[in-house]
């Protein structure tokens, strides 16, 4: 399969499986992009997410562009993004033209209440896995917990956390180099 088409199909698959926003997509990306295709590592995905949260636009598209570009340049980035968008476009068009009250159907609401529970569990599993690879020293432990608590209970823009994280990283690494 030509690689550009492969990028399109893989991200279309990720798009179909994503319920409820960019973060919910992480477990699917891990499966398709990291495990099945080997196009990126989990660490790289984390970096893409961080950049995606501070740059404008939809996180899912940002991540698709990153992975596609890394693998096959600009065209790759575009193909992956189109793939990501394609299923949504088709599904919404079908629903908008056929079912005007889709979201009010009781069975749809029940199904999505169930899916939300599943998304929780999938995100939880992804967090456990990421925890093992990210939390390696005192800084990372304190940082994960502090950002989690602050972001959950206060209304602070993710941009602030990511910028502060970058500054902390540079200070810590510079201090390490100096002390050697």
């Amino acid at each position: 399969m030509p690689i550009l088409f492969d990028l399109f199909v893989t991200f279309a698959k990720v798009g179909v499986c994503t319920f409820g926003g960019g973060i919910a997509m992480l477990p699917i990306l891990e499966r398709e992009v990291v495990n099945n295709k080997g196009w990126a590592t989990m660490d790289e995905l984390m970096d893409y997410y961080a950049v995606g949260q501070c740059t404008p636009g939809i996180i899912a598209v940002n991540t698709a562009t990153f992975v596609g570009n890394k693998h096959k340049g600009i065209l790759g980035g575009i193909c992956a993004s189109i793939g990501m968008v394609f299923p949504s476009l088709v599904i919404i068009l079908v629903i908008a033209s056929v079912l005007s009250n889709f979201a009010d159907i009781p069975a749809v609401q029940s199904a999505f209440a169930g899916i939300r529970v599943c998304v929780c569990v999938l995100i939880f599993n992804a967090i456990i896995k990421l925890w093992k690879s990210v939390v390696k020293d005192r800084y990372s432990l304190v940082c994960v917990l502090a950002v989690f608590l602050l972001a959950t209970f206060l209304d602070i823009s993710p941009v602030i956390f990511v910028l502060l994280g970058a500054v902390c990283g540079i200070i810590i690494k510079t201090a390490e180099v100096r002390s050697k």
Partner: protein
């Protein structure tokens, strides 16, 4: 020219909405007030549909608004509009990162950012968990702790945890199987 106008309005949303699908909502309210393409009530309906279909919410919203405004071509224009700024910006950043990848400071910055990224992911997960597993609104009304926890949802979550982590035959299945299973359970048990 409604198509160009749609493209331009969603291009602006894509350019200025930082932080994912939910961040596009204020822009859509503004668009509603400014253009009259849809009412606030219709917008609430569109948000509900976007949340209950697969795919990134921002894309779903753009497609829906574009379609309601001017049909299939409109939905395609709106979607291309919201995606274009992201793609261009990320391509530029990716190029810059490739050039500076071996730079000590870029490396140190990402060392610092990675745990923040995990913290933010966990916080987003907590919001989903709050909606899926707890009835905070109901608890506020009644004050009963038995109303706070959604028992049926917690049981499903426990079953899914065991299936995804502990059972040898199921834990390596594609996540879509668990999503489908949960949807069926949701319908059968009327969540």
């Amino acid at each position: 020219m409604i198509y160009l106008h749609l493209f331009f309005e969603f291009f602006k949303t894509g350019l200025f909405a930082v932080g994912g699908g939910l961040a596009t909502i204020p822009f859509l309210y503004e668009m509603s007030a400014k253009t009259g393409w849809f009412t606030y009530e219709e917008l609430a309906n569109m948000i509900a549909v976007s949340e209950s279909t697969p795919g990134p919410m921002g894309i779903n919203m753009a497609t829906y608004v574009g379609f309601e405004t001017s049909g299939i071509l409109g939905s395609i224009c709106a979607t291309i509009g919201i995606v274009t700024p992201s793609v261009i910006i990320i391509l530029i950043i990716a190029k810059a990162l490739q050039a500076f990848r071996s730079n000590r400071y870029v490396d140190a910055a990402f060392y610092g950012i990675r745990p923040c990224s995990l913290g933010l992911i966990a916080a987003a997960g907590a919001i989903v968990a709050k909606i899926a597993l707890f009835n905070v609104d109901l608890f506020m009304q009644t004050g009963l702790f038995t109303d706070l926890v959604n028992i049926r949802a917690l049981i499903l979550a426990a079953v899914l945890l065991v299936l995804t982590r502990a059972v040898k035959y199921t834990k390596n299945l594609h996540p879509l199987w668990f999503i489908a299973f949960s949807a069926v359970m949701g319908i059968l048990l009327k969540y």
